[in-house]
């Protein structure tokens, strides 16, 4: 267990799109400890919010850690008003990580919206394998396609789909995924899917993974109060592991996303 609670200073804060922001914080500890897939709980001092908010680690450069967020509600809206030099309370890094890919594996990264930042950090961490990574970005419309250029800059192949066809393929990102699997059918046993985005996307991606027998890791979201595994608020229903079956005397259980996740084997999840 290596998370810490720290007060950090905002070192940079940039709007990168309609409602999308990247905030950088200075924290040697966090920069050094963060692994792809992990997140932080981020709290605004003296704001009228009780809990911190969960944000995935999007990037690390030197001692700076970057979070990419979209303004959704009160917390992200207040965060967007914070200026460079102001303080944030951070607990992290939290949660488990995406698996380190084996050198011969080929990664299919499927993301939507603010599910893309952890995938970017994943791709960047294993950038030496970037040529074996295909990134599929799904979005409602052009305005919500983010990080396309950044992934390309890493050396990944990138494809886009939008619901309204305003960028890339008109349709669902799972169409891109199916096509990518077909195109790589010769190396099917080397494929690895990693996905993060809205639940319907993750459910569809998991189903494809199960059907095609491709290992699939999905990073999920639930409301979190603590991020530390103690409130048991952030659960999703999963099949029990063999040990759990014995201990709990049942087949299904609720799994805490903040410490047993956020990354779960897609086939473990029972969609409610």
């Amino acid at each position: 267990m290596s998370q810490q609670q720290q007060t950090v200073l905002i070192s940079s804060h940039t709007q990168i799109g309609e409602g999308y922001y990247v905030v950088g914080v200075a924290s040697p500890w966090l920069a050094q400890a963060s692994q792809p897939g992990q997140f932080v709980m981020c709290r605004l001092p003296n704001a009228n919010l009780l809990w911190g908010r969960a944000f995935s680690v999007y990037d690390v450069v030197g001692d700076e850690v970057f979070l990419l967020y979209k303004v959704m509600g009160r917390g992200t809206s207040l965060l967007s008003e914070k200026k460079v030099g102001e303080q944030l309370e951070i607990i992290g890094p939290l949660g488990n990580t995406f698996s380190k890919p084996k050198p011969d594996q080929f990664l299919l990264l499927v993301g939507g919206g603010v599910g893309l930042p952890p995938l970017y950090f994943y791709a960047k961490t294993y950038q030496e394998q970037a040529s074996q990574m295909r990134v599929m970005i799904g979005a409602r419309d052009k305005e919500n396609v983010i990080l396309e250029e950044e992934f390309k800059a890493l050396g990944c192949q990138v494809e886009v789909s939008t619901d309204d066809g305003s960028a890339g393929l008109k349709g669902l990102v799972t169409e891109l995924l199916k096509k990518a699997i077909r195109n790589n059918s010769k190396i099917k046993d080397k494929l690895l899917i990693a996905s993060c985005g809205p639940n319907p996307m993750l459910k569809a991606v998991s189903a494809i993974g199960i059907e095609e027998k491709i290992p699939t890791e999905i990073s999920m979201e639930e409301s979190m109060a603590c991020g530390l595994g103690v409130c048991i608020g952030c659960v999703v229903k999963t099949h029990c592991s063999p040990e759990q079956k014995e201990e709990l005397k049942r087949d299904e259980t609720y799994t805490r996303l903040c410490c047993e996740g956020p990354v779960l084997e897609g086939s473990r999840v029972i969609w409610e």
Binding site: M1, S2, Q3, Q4, Q5, M41, R43, N48, L49, L50, W51, G52, E89, I91, E222, S223, A225, C226, L228, G229, V230, C231, I232, G233, C234, V235, V236, K237, E247, L248, K249, R250, E252, T253, Y254, C259, E272
Partner: protein, 307 residues
């Protein structure tokens, strides 16, 4: 001369009066990297049941103004796994442990009390008769005086451990319940558990919590919990473990002053895991500044305004 922070709850001696509340600190190990476990007077375990429970479906928690609703539904791996897998860590690390027990029937409470009384490393039992988030048992025992009396009487017979009964605030006259607790021979009373509340997703026009209602905790309820602690302090002589919305040293002081012997920190652990250590230090500082040398001098020191 040193400052004495140690307090006594029945047979249980705590090195300091700052405990962490049930359901809000896991089994301590989860918090070891962010909290200073050596500073905590006692860790109260997540609510234990006889059999493993998987709890309620998500969403289970909602943020509210200065508070939160939870409807966890007592997810836990059961008392046996607790004894086998969680207790050893607590013992090894010299963490004083209070087991929080929950039954759907009186018999379950009895069995829990028996099993935990035989387990090495359990310092006391806190009987949760006030969980608002389970279908059977839980709060039923906490809002009906007869049921309350019966369950506590029967548990009392099964354990020689320090027995603490945890009261529900969702009642008209809490003193009545506190007196029952004292009358049946419990060593201490703890309060408050959460207040039953509800939140609505106005776009879907559905309850946000799958369980419909949940328990409200956090700073929002502090003025209510302080008042109930004060009222119970008027009604009984057994020590009070006070809690509800403690978020700072000053909040903790309020509970001592109105009559708590020890306090418990719940929701605040979620966003400030270091709070218990901060409060221990803050209590010492306060006592020094006010020329007191024992925390017991603070308990019940409220002076009423003359009129």
């Amino acid at each position: 001369m040193g400052i004495n922070l140690s307090v006594q709850l029945g047979k249980l001696k705590l090195k300091n009066p700052v405990t962490v509340a049930s359901g809000c600190f896991g089994y301590a190990q989860e918090m070891e990297s962010v909290a200073d476990l050596s500073q905590i007077g006692a860790v109260i375990s997540k609510g234990l049941t006889l059999e493993p429970r998987i709890g309620n479906p998500s969403p289970r928690i909602v943020e509210t103004p200065s508070g939160m609703l939870n409807a966890i539904g007592l997810q836990n791996d059961g008392v046996d796994v607790f004894i086998k897998k969680k207790l050893p860590y607590l013992k090894e690390n010299n963490i004083q442990t209070i087991a929080n027990i929950n039954g759907s029937t009186i018999e379950e409470y009895e069995q829990l009390a028996e099993r935990l009384s035989g387990a090495d490393g359990v310092g006391a039992l806190e009987v949760n008769i006030s969980c608002p988030n389970v279908k059977h048992g839980g709060i039923e025992f906490g809002v009906d005086p007869k049921a309350c009396e019966e369950v506590l009487t029967r548990i009392r017979k099964k354990t020689g451990l320090t027995l603490i009964a945890k009261l529900s605030p969702n009642v008209t006259h809490i003193q009545e319940f506190a007196k029952i607790v004292e009358g049946v021979g419990c060593d201490a009373v703890s309060l408050v558990n959460t207040y039953v509340g509800m939140a609505v997703d106005v776009n879907k026009r559905k309850p946000i919590l799958t369980n419909i209602t949940g328990g409200l905790s956090g700073p929002a309820i502090r003025p209510l919990a302080v008042r109930l602690t004060w009222q119970v302090a008027q009604a009984v002589k057994i020590p009070i473990l006070g809690m509800g919305g403690i978020n700072s040293v000053q909040d903790a002081l309020e509970f001592f002053i109105v009559g708590a012997t020890a306090i418990s920190i719940g929701t605040a652990n979620f966003y400030n895991p270091k709070l218990s250590a901060e409060i221990v230090a803050g209590l010492e500082e306060y006592l020094l500044k006010h020329n007191l040398n024992d925390i017991s001098q603070l308990t019940g020191s409220l002076e009423l305004n003359k009129k």
